[in-house]
Symmetry: none
Subunit: 201 residues, 4 copies
């Protein structure tokens, strides 16, 4: 007698994640140029055709990868925030958490960076649910409302902070040699940023 599966499993979620992680790694190493579906599939140990079981097209896969990465980053960053600390401490925690996350998962940073400056990043994409942006905006809103940050639009603060942070990470990731002379002072950047956004009595 045949046994019918009782577990409705529309798709194998782990295989989908395997494919996404494989694409992520290839994009980090070789850019969008260097991640043909054939390679993605090989690295994920699936057949090339199987990628199309999970994604309508390669573009769709890249877009889902963006959502995936942003969600993962938002999850990890928000988990580590301790709202009981004072805001200044939370800001430096955030800074350190992001830089460590990117150091641990350089593919996250590299992908987000490449995606953001690529034509994939249309306005339509940005208007979709953005858990990372939302969390950051809420975070800085708290700082403004509690009077610890300058009375600015939290989105503006996000832009400035993230810009500095991305710039810093990009430099340290890509150009270890170049910044060697400056490495000792890199930890002063968050202080500069904090000085820029904190409320000046």
């Amino acid at each position: 007698m045949n046994v019918h599966s009782l577990i409705p499993m529309e798709q194998n979620p782990s295989k989908k994640v395997q494919i996404l992680e494989s694409a992520l790694e290839l994009i980090k190493e070789n850019g969008f140029h260097g991640c043909p579906i054939s390679q993605v599939a090989k690295q994920a140990s699936v057949a090339a055709g199987s990628v199309y079981t999970y994604f309508e097209s390669k573009d769709e896969m890249i877009l889902e990868l963006y959502t995936y990465v942003k969600t993962e980053v938002a999850k990890k960053i928000s988990e580590k925030d301790d709202p009981k600390k004072n805001f200044e401490a939370r800001f430096f925690d955030l800074w350190n958490n992001v830089t460590s996350l990117y150091r641990e998962k350089p593919a996250f940073q590299s992908f987000l960076d490449q995606f953001s400056s690529s034509p994939y990043n249309t306005e339509a994409v940005q208007l979709e649910c953005d858990p990372l942006g939302q969390w950051l905006e809420a975070f800085f809103k708290e700082g403004v409302e509690s009077g610890q940050l300058k009375a600015l639009n939290p989105k503006i603060i996000s832009i400035m902070v993230l810009g500095s942070l991305i710039s810093l990470v990009r430099f340290t990731t890509y150009f270890k040699a170049k910044t060697a002379s400056a490495a000792q002072d890199l930890h002063l950047i968050p202080q500069m940023v904090w000085d820029g956004i904190k409320f000046q009595s």
Copy 2:
């Protein structure tokens, strides 16, 4: 502090520049994906084969384009600096000059942004002559030495300032709608950045 063109004058210089500008425009519109040599050549009004008279390969062309753009930007930025003004004024001038330049020549910003986050941007590339980086470093060195900026490595200051600036430009370029609500406060960003780097008495 003027920077002279680095484009060698062998061959037909205007045709070479035509090709570079054509590539620049296509990369802005469609990313690295969307600039096949055939298109670049058509837009530059030359034959596809002729591109190989001026560049060894497509990669070589992209790399030369990077040099070209950085040189152009350095030239325009350095030209507009007035060393007779006080440093704070020069800082805000710089900020405005860069943002206007990118507004006038969005292809410059888009290309630099894409290039920087791409695998083209190897350490070897960065170690080559970088007139823009050099000029900025010299600029901030002056600010530090004259006691108007925090006593930090000028390279570090460059990183932070440029990061904020790129982030700002990227947002305003790509996402007009998204930042509409925040648009009125965008001009406050340079002040934040200045507050972050200025010497605090």
Copy 3:
């Protein structure tokens, strides 16, 4: 002169017919190109793999579909023939019955037309049981033997009649606009054909 269904009744006969009808519809709409098994299965509300329970391969399915359609057509045409009428009336009845059948079931005509001109239609296929051809041959044989048609090989008459008929239906089906000007005269075609085959005293 009734023709019985040739579809064997092993397995679930309705599901087999569902699959055939689904393929028929897709071939009418999109040609042989546009009827992947996945679509056929979806339209028949079965799983793709299930098609292979009923047919050895896709080619086998197409060949069975040919048998199915020819059988259906033969059944409907033979049912409506009234041997008690005189032969001329029966000829015009036949003509009208075929044209109405094709108008009601355009997929029948479209499939037969595509199949006939395709490489599926090998000599081997033609030598198999052909209820439609047999019925027509018998019909025209009667006309010849009763002296109402020219004394020709009935197969030859079939060829000429069916050719005109298929040509007519193809034109009216595919090109409504084109024949608009000629539409009023289309009903004269059977008369021309009859004039061509009738015994000339």
Copy 4:
């Protein structure tokens, strides 16, 4: 000193025809299924990519092939018509010319047949310039106006004549064995058709 070509030759016409003839042959042998670009190119002794120098896409190639074949057929048929003969003789000449042409160039007949019943044959395609259809219509118009054919729309007559003819050719081409018994009478078909369309005093 270099010699610039003085002959403006947008494309190599013979190579384009080579490709078309190659596709024609493959479609005759294997149908639309069996003519992948790779095979077409190989048989035409060009690289696969070169096909795209001459045609925008495979579909475009098929459509141009249709135009090519119809034009060739129209040319050959019209060349052999002798307007000085009486109309009945010209009709039998036409019939013989078409059947011999199709016997000499079976790929023409096979392609036209397959194309006509395929989804390529849209109304838009039919509304394009159709030299063969136009020539035939003009031919039969002459017959009607000179009182030698029934007073019908010449398009209608074309439909009937071509239908019989295609049907005949299809049978003789595909099924030599089947019609063996009938072969001796095949030459009587044009007489039947003529009897169907001629003016009956």
